[in-house]
């Protein structure tokens, strides 16, 4: 790598404490009973200006539709001010911060981070700086922790039609701890190690949410061309791919820039649209003719000195432009490096070269778009090309399904941060701080060891409980059940039953079932039986009322054994067990059965 790469991470961890600023549960479906819709406007900020990222979003003039699932209320709809902060979530964030060696701020100010991509109904995300200046030890040395913030998670995007974006509000408001590292990470493998370590630290609180995207990473990366923030990496393994793909991209752009430079550089003045719709009306390109039929126009522009850098060899400047137009919901774009093609004939391409007044080293592009969109793009495209060729690459990108990073929006500035005036500062009590510091004394790995020994379970089980975010469930079940039994139930028994039945049991249901079984004075035998019933779809009320979960008494077992034996001789214990199972749906202890059977024989 020619330039030294500086890498930092932002690790986001969802908590399962209930939502941060209302009393809704964190769990819920993405199905909603109704929708609401909003438009958002950027507002004049604290410094009298409007944030660049926010203004950028507004130019896209979008309308947002929100599906409202059951685990939402007026707070998520921005129809009620936030309620007081979820103190449990706040305390978990303190524990995480303490574990990462951070200094906890005793008075915490809640801020509004302006985000008008619609992912927050209010147009901002509430975020609080909880702690600063920590560090962790890694195999490649110390990595600084810049900050630990406690945020509310954003809405989940369901679909993006460009002008019309759909979100579901179920995720909005889930507490999210954001841990930001200094740019101390040396390479992609190191990044994975750091992400893992931070995640594990959070998970040892036992309060992290168990879901496919409950832990998400952003990568901050700089190769000397400005900071790039890559968002939305939900699997740790993707961190590596994202870093590799982005460094390759930046090296490629260095080559593109130097190529164009050598040819005499960019003349951004040269970029302007000519309407060639009439000429291409009869073209064989279905993209073009379809666009025209929908009322769009076809615009042509020369790209000075850019022949061969748009798409040729490993050069891919064309993709950078396409990423931009996609943001404006314009899909119809072609450039001369990929033409003839897409149904355009060689003759037509030659004519377009002529109409764009291209020299030998020049390329052209055509855009199929509405008039309004074109007038936006006529400014945005040359501006972006200029930025890229000047290697001013700072921006927000996302890691796409295609395994590469892609343009999302400009980097937001500090102007997007306002105070959250609906909430008083959160003042931590001494007890809250010292309890967090106590928790933080032990490194994450030691906490797992302690867990194993405290509960007398295996190191392996302890570790799995933590990394699968089942620690909280385990601790809660262990307060009622035998700990080893709880661990087996969570890690083996239940997954087996779920797999067999094809149904799932939520943590909440499991907790309620266990409590209900205990309340009826029944034990593990009954619990096993009741899990079966639960997975068959019976309600917990029905299960606890069911006679089928009551274990057979000694007398009942003896009676059955006698009856079975009268009919047919039982050859062995297995046969005996199977026979009893045929005669009753109620649970029994096989060992006890054998004992009784033997005592009867005697």
């Amino acid at each position: 790598m020619p330039n030294p790469v500086m890498i930092g991470l932002e690790v986001h961890v969802q908590l399962n404490t209930g939502k941060l600023f209302c009393r809704c549960p964190v769990e819920g479906s993405d199905e909603g009973s109704f929708e609401l819709s909003r438009r958002l406007k950027p507002t004049v900020g604290e410094a009298g200006g409007v944030d660049r990222a926010a203004r950028y979003e507004e130019e896209r003039d979008r309308s947002f539709t929100y599906l409202c699932p059951e685990n939402t209320c007026l707070v998520e709809y921005d129809e009620e001010p936030p309620r007081s902060i979820n103190r449990e979530a706040l305390n978990v964030s303190l524990k995480v911060a303490a574990s990462l060696g951070c200094t906890i701020l005793p008075v915490i100010e809640c801020m509004r981070k302006i985000v008008i991509d619609g992912s927050n109904t209010s147009g901002f995300q509430r975020t609080s700086l909880v702690a600063v200046n920590g560090s962790i030890q890694t195999s490649r040395g110390r990595v600084g922790i810049t900050s630990v913030c406690l945020e509310e998670d954003s809405a989940r995007k369901l679909s993006d039609g460009g002008d019309q974006v759909h979100y579901s509000l179920g995720r909005l408001g889930i507490p999210l701890i954001e841990i930001t590292t200094d740019p101390d990470i040396v390479d992609q493998d190191h990044a994975v190690e750091v992400a893992r370590k931070i995640g594990l630290t959070a998970m040892t609180t036992g309060m992290t949410r168990r879901d496919s995207d409950s832990i998400r990473q952003d990568v901050n990366l700089s190769m000397g061309h400005g900071r790039v923030e890559i968002k939305g990496i939900s699997r740790i393994s993707q961190i590596k791919d994202a870093i590799e793909s982005e460094t390759e991209r930046q090296m490629m752009l260095e080559r593109v820039a130097s190529t164009v430079e050598k040819r005499g550089g960019l003349s951004s003045k040269g970029f302007h649209f000519v309407d060639v719709s009439e000429y291409l009306r009869e073209s064989g390109s279905t993209m073009i003719s379809g666009g025209i039929r929908e009322g769009k126009h076809v615009y042509l522009s020369r790209l000075n000195n850019m022949s061969g850098v748009l798409k040729s060899g490993d050069m891919r400047l064309g993709r950078e432009i396409a990423d931009l137009t996609k943001v404006f919901a314009v899909q119809g774009i072609m450039h001369s490096d990929e033409l003839p093609g897409y149904g355009l004939s060689g003759k037509e391409v030659r004519e377009l070269f002529k109409r764009a007044e291209c020299g030998d080293l020049d390329a052209f592009m055509i855009v199929i778009a509405s008039k309004a969109k074109a007038s936006l793009l006529e400014k945005e495209i040359p501006s972006r090309i200029e930025h890229i060729l000047a290697l001013r690459l700072d921006e927000t990108r996302y890691f796409s399904d295609q395994g590469r990073t892609a343009f999302l929006r400009p980097l937001p500035g500090a102007e997007r941060m306002y105070p959250e005036t609906d909430l008083e500062p959160f003042r931590l009590s001494k007890e809250e701080i010292s309890s967090a510091l106590d928790f933080g004394k032990l490194p994450a790995e030691d906490r797992i060891k302690k867990l194993a020994s405290d509960y007398n379970i295996s190191q392996q089980d302890a570790s799995t409980l933590v990394t699968e975010s089942k620690l909280g469930l385990f601790v809660s079940l262990s307060s009622v059940l035998n700990a080893r039994y709880s661990a087996r139930l969570i890690l083996q028994r239940l997954p087996e039953l779920e797999k067999k039945s094809g149904n799932k049991v939520s943590e909440e249901e499991l907790r309620r079932l266990v409590a209900a079984i205990k309340e009826r004075g029944l034990g593990e035998l009954s619990l096993d039986a009741s899990l079966d019933l639960l997975l068959k779809g019976l309600s917990i009320e029905e299960i606890t009322r069911s006679p089928d979960i009551e274990p057979l008494s000694k007398e009942e077992l003896a009676a059955i054994i006698n009856e079975i034996s009268r009919i047919q001789k039982q050859n062995n214990a297995g046969e005996m067990i199977a026979s009893v199972k045929k005669r009753t749906s109620r649970p029994f202890d096989p060992k006890k059965l054998i004992e009784i059977a033997e005592s009867i024989k005697k």
Partner: protein, 416 residues
């Protein structure tokens, strides 16, 4: 305290806190604490005792809101006067106190009305800067005079107003204008305009659209749904704020829908009052009135104490308009002394009727005047108007439907 005095809002400072050196922006002092903004944008709050200001890097200055004066806007022939009294709709974060306070800068409305600029000429003016919960009749009178003056010269008035007491003000204005040449539209917002999701933009836009119509009434224009894109204009005397926080908090109680806007298209109801040829305005109101909320703890002594110094008492009674028998002799006595008791219902929806039950007949006999389905807040404003104008025929005027404050027909509506 080592130089902390010089710091003013917006100064860039270098500070030391618990051994760390930080470059920050000074926001404010709050008691024994200082609030700074970090370069990341986060605010931090440090104790005076633990922070040390090392040097001032840059004086405050660039860090100020730019105030844009709007003299006039638009090129159309319809003349609209936009008067701001304050309230959430004209509120901004006050970075000094951290609270939302009235602003005197109306620039935020520029964007939202660009597309109808050629249909009207808007002139904007700040006439007050007050949260509506602090409004008193003297504010009403002062503002009403300004509205009247504006309507003498212009075709419509839009009044920006806090939502808390907006329906009281709208009622008072309704009665003060016996005739009006054009619409007087009050609007406000439930989310302040410094939020990207504020309803202020759309409510003002909708108000201006309604201002283009031939309406001779006082109305309140707000969201009619929690979604953007739909607004409603409600007759001032039939409007009530029915939710503390929702955008669609204002409802026409059983009747009073003047018009609606959906996707920027205005549609008006059939039974609206059209503009008069001229204005007829009176600024006389008698403030010797009050609202008494009847409940099972109410006693004659309680009512008497409340009635002292008042000429008209609006009772929010239960159900059809009933109060306890215990109060009747006192009502009789105070009525004989010249006080007026008018009856509305704490149910808010539906009509009072004192002829159905014995309790009601006794209350009638005690001298109380039932007000059909008039809203309690409207009844208060109307009492003030009638006391000032027709003190000798109070009951007759209170029960005469002057501005649509009584819904003659009880229809099945949206909520009720």
């Amino acid at each position: 305290m080592d130089g902390k005095e010089f710091a003013e809002f917006g100064s860039r400072l270098r500070i030391e806190h618990e051994g760390q050196t930080l470059d920050v922006t000074f926001i404010k002092r709050d008691g024994e604490e200082l609030v700074f903004k970090l370069t990341s944008g986060y605010n931090v709050r440090f104790s005076l005792k633990t922070v040390k200001i090392l040097e001032e890097l840059e004086k405050s200055g660039s860090f100020r809101n730019k105030s844009i004066d709007i003299a006039t806007l638009g090129t159309g022939s319809r003349r609209i006067s936009l008067l701001s009294t304050g309230g959430t709709i004209a509120s901004k974060v006050d970075y000094a106190t951290g609270a939302v306070k009235p602003t005197e800068d109306l620039s935020f409305i520029l964007d939202s009305i660009k597309d109808i600029q050629d249909r009207m000429t808007l002139s904007a003016k700040i006439i007050d800067s007050i949260l509506s919960e602090n409004m008193q009749p003297e504010n009403w009178i002062r503002n009403a005079r300004l509205v009247s003056k504006a309507l003498d010269h212009e075709d419509a008035v839009v009044l920006l107003h806090g939502t808390d007491t907006m329906s009281y003000t709208a009622s008072a204005l309704s009665f003060m204008f016996e005739k009006q040449k054009g619409p007087i539209i009050l609007t406000g917002s439930q989310r302040s305009s410094d939020r990207p999701s504020s309803d202020a933009f759309e409510n003002i836009e909708a108000s201006i659209r309604f201002s283009l119509e031939d309406i001779g009434e006082v109305g309140i224009c707000m969201h009619s749904s929690i979604s953007d894109g739909r607004s409603t204009l409600i007759r001032g005397v039939r409007a009530r704020k029915m939710h503390t926080t929702r955008r669609d908090a204002f409802r026409a109680i059983e009747s009073g829908n003047i018009g609606t806007i959906s996707d920027r298209k205005v549609s008006l109801s059939n039974d609206i009052k059209r503009p008069d040829e001229e204005n007829a305005f009176s600024d006389k109101l008698d403030t010797a009135a009050g609202i008494y909320y009847f409940n099972p703890l109410s006693s004659a002594e309680d009512l008497e104490a409340f009635s002292r110094g008042k000429k008209a008492i609006v009772i929010m009674a239960t159900g059809l308009g009933h109060v306890s028998e215990r109060l009747l002799p006192k009502i009789r006595e105070l009525t004989d002394e010249g006080k007026h008791f008018v009856i509305t219902s704490q149910c808010l929806y539906g009509r009072v009727d004192l002829e159905v039950y014995a309790s009601g007949r006794k209350l009638l006999a005690a001298g109380a005047t039932p007000l059909e389905n008039m809203l309690p807040e409207t009844a208060l404003a109307k009492s003030m108007y009638v006391l000032a104008h027709y003190p000798d025929e109070f009951g007759r005027w209170m029960t005469t439907n002057l501005r649509g404050e009584i819904a003659e027909r009880s229809l099945i509506g949206g909520e009720f």
